[in-house]
């Protein structure tokens, strides 16, 4: 049943690719096994391995972009289990892009972590987990089949669980880790279900066979496969309503938030849909569904981002919103645009997180923006980094975000989804508002760390008793050299600004030339709104957002009275927003409460009366029959002889009446 000719890439032997894949696993084992011996060198070893992996990715560029007889990229067979079940590695433009981001941004964040995690008692363990995450993520994006993808999918969830709960002595971190893991596993089940459907239909787990048979599934099965896959994508990529784990995941160390919960892992859903583009392209309903959920997520994330006070939660909701854009892009069929937004977002969001990490690090783990303020002069480098990131995410022309975001918004319109187009533009304006709100509150005005938390409307200060202090004299606390954390941020500034220019030039841009062999040239419905118009409308909306943020937080008067304003806002916040639209409550009522009710039902009725009842009946029957049989065991040998004789008589009687044959 398997058609071996349906491979995605040029089959061959690619030692570089295998090395790239296994190198981080080696690093993880190294850091894990020899952590106590390596001490600080563990961080350097892990970082070196991440950079080596990036080098190997670049070295595999040629293999990943080659094209031969319709096969695109490199396919390295690894294991053949049985017909239709061949595991292997695939490097084509799509996975090449992801591998570049995973190893490139990953390496920079590794470097940053050496400084950030300085002095942590589990320094080596952190880097073991980080390298393990790289391995898991590479497994996910480099697999040439669904099973390998699912293995990677599960492993990144595991790495995420490890790293969210890295500070396992914090109960909130453990709870967040567990929540993330459970929701992600719910998604894994969706993917598994999709794999079952595909294998049942095609008899093969490889992408090539599954996609070659895309037009034979029939509408119902295809929709079922797409929805199952999207459940997995939604859980991993924090799409409504499975997004609630992402803000909680900010309990992990900030580099983890930057790498896993902003740049790479949470975009796995985007990768999955882009990878399965041949399936989505055949199903307009699935496209509509995914695009709509992406748009809703973008909007919900932006709305909730507007009312957060924790700097990392602002960024987390922003991440959720931006992934909503990506999912919207790949969902409606604008794969190149959605993937491009992943590309630029990886840079500027990593940079924003690392910048926030600089602040958090300098303020001794203070994350509440209400207790910041006026940091522009104290932390000028962090301010520049954050400013560039904010400008990029807002889509200021010339910076990376503007190219990709406009491409997504335009893509939604081109594919005939004007509502998503409107949502995209609206969300862009809201993004600008909450990003500049964060910028004004954090960096302008005067420092509020010494103000009593209750005056700022903080009811439950998270770090009660911890003296928040400015690291004016960083030399006193044995901090790692500042360049360790500053250099990665500085490097990230460059692509944050310029990466978008790869999209410049419309259909002839380097981006399109890179991805056209993968996705083909898209077909357009042709709504007559030009790209320039879209950009201008978006820009107008962004300008409104910035203006509102400026009027509320940025003017001289607002800066002067920031304490009163923040208290008023904190206390007067709408309960709907404060509870994040009650998604947690709804999920709790829908799944947890029903499961508990079911469990109670089982434990009160089914278990005592049916299960235990059956066991009790069985024991009664056993006792009764045992007593019956025991009565034969008289111990008298002659009685046994009688029983024997009776048995023989029965046999003999049977043969006498039945005949010997």
């Amino acid at each position: 049943m398997a058609n071996p000719e349906h491979v995605m890439g040029v089959v061959g032997s690619y030692p570089l690719l295998v090395t790239l894949w296994l190198l981080p696993l080696f690093g993880a084992i190294l850091c894990w096994a020899f952590g106590p011996q390596l001490k600080r060198a563990a961080g350097w070893a892990a970082t070196l391995i991440a950079f080596l992996a990036f080098g190997l990715t670049i070295a595999s560029w040629g293999a990943g972009t080659q094209s031969l007889n319709g096969a695109l990229g490199a396919d390295q067979p690894l294991v053949s289990w049985m017909a239709g079940f061949h595991l292997g590695l695939l490097l084509d433009p799509l996975s090449l892009l992801w591998a570049c981001i995973i190893t490139g941004v990953g390496a920079l964040i590794h470097l940053y972590s050496i400084g950030y995690m300085e002095g942590d008692s589990a320094f080596a363990r952190f880097f073991a987990y980080m390298n393990f995450f790289l391995f898991a993520m590479l497994t996910l994006v480099l697999s040439d089949n669904f099973v390998g993808l699912l293995i990677g999918w599960g492993l990144v969830g595991l790495a995420s669980y490890f790293l969210i709960g890295f500070w396992f002595y914090k109960p909130s971190a453990v709870a967040a880790a567990r929540k993330a893991f459970v929701i992600n596993v719910a998604g894994d089940v969706g993917i598994m279900f999709a794999i079952f459907l595909i294998v049942q239909k095609t008899g093969s787990i490889s992408f090539g066979n599954a996609f070659a048979a895309a037009d034979t599934y029939g509408p119902t099965l295809l929709l079922a496969i797409c929805i199952s896959l999207f459940i997995g994508a939604a859980a991993k990529s924090a799409q409504v309503p499975l997004h609630t784990w992402l803000p909680d995941a900010m309990e992990g160390p900030t580099p983890v938030s930057a790498l896993i919960h902003a740049a790479t892992m949470v975009t796995a859903g985007v990768y999955l849909i882009a990878r399965c583009a041949p399936l989505w392209s055949h199903d307009g309903n699935a496209q509509l569904l995914v695009g709509t959920i992406g748009g809703v997520t973008a909007l919900v994330g932006a709305i909730l981002g507007m009312v957060q006070w924790d700097i990392k939660r602002i960024l987390a909701y922003s991440t959720m919103s931006q992934i909503g854009y990506m999912i919207m892009g790949v969902g409606v069929g604008a794969y190149e645009a959605g993937v491009a937004h992943f590309f630029t977002h990886a840079f500027f969001k990593a940079q924003l997180f690392l910048g926030s990490g600089l602040i958090i690090h300098a303020l001794a783990n203070e994350q509440d923006v209400r207790r910041m303020g006026g940091l522009r002069k104290r932390l000028p480098f962090a301010f520049i980094a954050m400013l560039v990131g904010v400008l990029a995410i807002c889509g200021i022309p010339g910076l990376s975000g503007s190219f990709s975001k406009d491409a997504v918004i335009q893509g939604a319109l081109d594919r005939g989804h004007p509502w998503l187009y409107a949502v995209g533009i609206l969300t862009a304006g809201m993004t600008a508002y909450y990003m500049f709100r964060m910028l004004f509150v954090t960096f302008f005005g005067k420092y509020r760390g010494d103000v009593d938390p209750s005056e700022l409307g903080i009811r439950h200060p998270e770090f009660a008793g911890t003296e928040t202090h400015l690291a004016d004299d960083g030399h006193e606390q044995h901090h790692a050299p500042a360049w360790l954390m500053n250099v990665p941020v500085a490097i990230l500034i460059v692509p944050s600004i310029f990466a978008g220019w790869l999209l410049y030039g419309g259909a002839n841009s380097p981006w399109h030339r890179f991805f056209d062999p993968q996705f083909g040239v898209g077909h357009f419905v042709g709504v007559p709104i030009s790209e320039m118009t879209t950009t201008l409308v978006t820009l107008a909306c962004v300008a409104v957002g910035i203006l509102v943020a400026y009027l509320r937080y940025g003017t001289k008067v607002a800066r002067e009275k920031s304490v009163e304003r923040l208290r008023r806002e904190s206390i007067g916040m709408s309960p709907i927003l404060a509870n994040a639209f009650y998604f947690d409550v709804a999920l709790d009522a829908l799944f947890v409460k029903t499961s508990e009710a079911l469990g109670r039902l089982v434990s009160r009725i089914l278990d005592p009366h049916v299960v235990d009842g059956a066991v009790r009946e069985a024991t009664i029957v056993t006792q009764w029959s045992g007593a019956l049989v025991r009565s034969f065991q008289t111990g008298l040998v002659r009685a046994y002889a009688v029983f024997l004789a009776v048995g023989i008589a029965c046999f003999a009687a049977f043969y006498a009446f039945h005949g010997v044959h």
Partner: protein
Amino acid sequence: MIAFWIIAAVLIVSALWTVTARKPIYSVVSLLLNFAALATTYLILHAEFLAVMQIIVYSGAILMLFVFVIALLNSGIAAVVLGRDRVPVAPAAAAALAAVAFVATAIAAAHAPAIAPIATHSPLGAVGRGNVFGSIGDFGQALFLSRLLPFEITALILMVAVVGVVLLAGDLTPYVPTRRRAEQTRRALREAILREGK
């Protein structure tokens, strides 16, 4: 024909005597008579080898074993005290039922159509001649050629029986003095050490 009836009468009478005799040794003697009569029947039925086996194995070996055990038991204790033998109703009924069923089966089997011969069979001839049905040569060929596996299983059964008998009735007491001796040695050693300590 008359010979058959005489032998049948001897068989039945000796069997009854075996079962009813008060002393086991009488049972043995009557059983010996029974086996001899049976061996004669085997000869009539052209089973020369089995007739010989009947005398050698049953009369020679098994009955001697019984006699030996009777002698052993009687030598230890004055008399084997037994209660009165009686035939309870249920066992008697069961035995009668079994006998009836057995006779019925025998009749059914006797009137059953012939099944195809399994082994190559030799022609019937006078007892004592070679290469006729039931002669030593005929039986031996069947035993060592076409029926080798049952024969080998027989050997295995006998070996298992030997091992079982040795385990059951074998005298394992020689080990006890050894253990006791070892205990004595240990005790002596301990006392010697205690003396050294003083």
